[in-house]
Amino acid sequence: FRLSSLIGHISTCPSLIGQCCQRHPGSVDEFQEELVIRPLHSGDIYASFQFRTLWDTDFLQEGQKVSHYRLFPKSLGQVLSKFSVRELHISFTQGFWRTMQWGQPFIPSPPGAELWVWFHDTVSDVDGNWKELTNVLSGIFCASLNFIDLTNTVQPSASFKPLGLGNATDHRFLRYATLPREIVCTENLTPWKKLLPCGSKAGLAVLLKSEKLFHSSFHSQAVHIRPVCQDEQCTSKAWELRQTLNVVFDLYTAGQGKKEWSLFKMFSRTLTEACPLATSSKVYVDITDNPELFELSPATPLLSQAVVLGDRRTYSVFDLTRAETFGQLRSLNLLLRWKGDGGEMLRPLLHAERYVAGFGLQTGEIHTVIYNNHPYRAFPVLLMDSVPWYLQLYIHTLTVTSKSRDNKPSYIHYQPAKDRHRPHLLEMLIQLPPHSMTEVTVQFERALLKWTEYTPDPNHGFYVGSSVVSALVPSMVAMNTNFTQDQPLFSSFVPVKEESSYFVRVYTEPLLVNLPTPDFSMPYNVICLTCTVVAVGYGSFYNLLTRTFQVDEPSLPLAKRLANLIRRIRGVPLLT
């Protein structure tokens, strides 16, 4: 016992310079944190936090229950073992990522909440597990994920392959759902921060203050859990938990119009120490455009180069595990001052937009526009659309045009919706010609729902979740396929299988669609009026069926009738 705890202590000490990520034999779990700051040409600044916990244990082993949790959060571990989850990806996003202005994000996410889960193939009732899982996650993250049910869950057949280990192809064990209407606020950030080993008390997480984080153009927090290989030969498996937080601070709202950013201005805190439980704690600043665009202080000799998203970028590295990083004031406050106007940003190679066309509340058309900005290479993209059942898609009106010519998709998987049971799922593999714009249009009809099925503000409209465009984009720079231990976290999120391309997932805008509404104040009136009309029909037919024609004899006035009654009793002849 003493030996293992001693080894555990060694692994958490500030480790050797440069080789910080060398795993000590016998260590069970390990935690790394990193922050990447990328200044953008428009004057905004993009900060991406990643916190990774690696733990070699097996949650899904039969019989053995994992009970000793250290760095890995117990709530998530219990969720994994109870529901036999192989991979879990959940993200909460406020705002929409503007690819044309900000480039590609390290970890893409759609507006609202998104949850996709690969279950283990031993699960017999995937839908039951999914329902319970969404409710449990709803409690863990204080979000209304309980709105995820079968009416907005789909099983994509090709778009969401596992990002971790495993060669699963049976998409019956995959579930994907998105809640575009979900709002992210402090309530969701606090439980997310609690999952970190150091909480928000030490390390990079001290910067996560909600007043500043939510005063931004884009805020996305995510949790990704997947099984990974521990080494190049993949002799043993480990569970990886990554918590990522992407935030883009706007020049005008958060930056007060001055193109000068610092950690204090962004987060109202500075860094004072690394998390003691972390084996590596680093801050990377993207200085590829330095010194033309901006200047960075304090300067640092540590530089690192990485090929990420098809581009070779240079980073200044601030290692928080070394005491000299903090200087004399014992605090690190990075300052970035813009010098010139910059130039043009490198255009992202893949970009997508979506909008609704048409007028009136009866029909409409969904247009998805995908741009391929590569000058000479064509590549295929997989487009996945999940449309709610109350917008009835007409697949025979599906048209795909590139450069004003018909472009037939080579693979179409379409699952039509069943009213009130499941949504539409459309997946297509489209070949994008080089330097072109491809437009996918499909017509739909809007349904009239029952009055109880409308949201509290029905004239706000109904949200349609983002489309997902997944592609292997040809890279101008050779990607690094080697598995190295000291790779920065931001370049190792998506596994790189080949040198010539990198994986990109682009989310389009969610749509807001109006449906025709009945008058909500009228249920009783409608029931009465319709039943009246039916009763008029019934009454007329009843009269004609049960009565016969008779000659109308006038009846005696009342006085004479009473007199006749008395006369009948007396036995005297009646009046006429």
Partner: protein, 435 residues
Amino acid sequence: MAAPLTLLLIVAVTIRAVLFRSSWAELISERVEVVSPLNAWKRVVEGLALLDLGVSPYSGDVFHETPFMIYLFHFVVDYAEIVFMIADGITAVALYLSIQTYNKNVFRKQKYALESDRYPADCLELLRSPKEMFYIPLKVAMFYLLNPFTILSCVAKSTCGLNNAIIALFILCTLKGSALLSGILLALATYQSIYPLTLFAPALLFFLQRLYIPVNLRRSSFWFFTLQYAFIYVGSLVVITGLSFFLLGSWDFIPSVYGFIFSVPDLTPNIGLFWYFFAEMFEHFRLFFICVFQINVFFYTIPLSIKLKEHPVFLIFMQIAIISIFKSYPTVGDVALYMAFLPAWSHLYRFLRNIFLVSCVLLACSALFPVLWHLWIYAGSANSNFYYAITLLFNFGQILLVSDYFYAYLRREHHLTHGLYLKKKDGTEATLVLK
């Protein structure tokens, strides 16, 4: 009479062809009064496209036609316009021939009754003459072919036209006396939409009347024929349903077609009473009111059959009208079918009480439907209540029309047995009331 009928057919086909080629065709095929989720052409094309993609058309909730339609349109989808024009022509010719046969029957019975002195002396002016009856079949065909409702339904390529053709052929076979064909066609009509089931009773009554079998539940001859006819009907229905199973290899079409008709899950506005009622229904009572509304369609069959057992053709008219008014997804094509019969009862004109009001209501509503739909859906200045009100009024007008003709028919029958100029006990002129 063949020449005027041919001329009528040519005029009708020309009007439809002109409208098919104009820009109005697109507009008309989207109107909710003309197409419903059950018989829209867009959904037929969608179902065939799904079949091409390898997905069963019944796996989603967009296609609600029977497999017979898939089978038919799989081959003729490129000639759809011609198919619908031919269907309209078949309906018109079938109605023409059946009304001609009916008139002959009526005149023959009238002649026998006159010879056996069964009519009172003063109702000779109620009797029908061949001169008056000569143009009635042509008028019936004209009322069907040139009715704007029928033209709209044909231009929209609503499969209601095909259903009408099957029902018209059924009426023709019944009136010609062929029980086998009548049973088969009735089974086909029931298979297409369930409501023609109620036409079993009038067809049975007609055959019993034709074969001089008295309608007496105690006599074996009655049961013998009823069982024969029922056997033909149910047998054909089973065979047709079985063949549908083999087309796609599954029973999916039963909940998709018949389950859809009965449980009304789709609340797309139409000219009927169901959609808004069930859009505003409390969830707790939904099943109860579905049952009530569906029973309402079938409920009038037995009482009407008892009252009109001597007059099965008028009973067919009444049943078709009741189906068109109270079915779950009515369209103007269904209305056009029973309106085609109205010239056959033109001799009842003197006894109709509300005909002016009814025709004004129906005309006004037909004009207001598109206006209020536009105001609700496109302009946004009205809401669903406006369109609902016109729906109520339109159905009310139809109910008044049908009950008015029923009243007039019964009154004429009463006069034919009791005399036209009735007198009270003291000899003054009497008024006739229903008591």
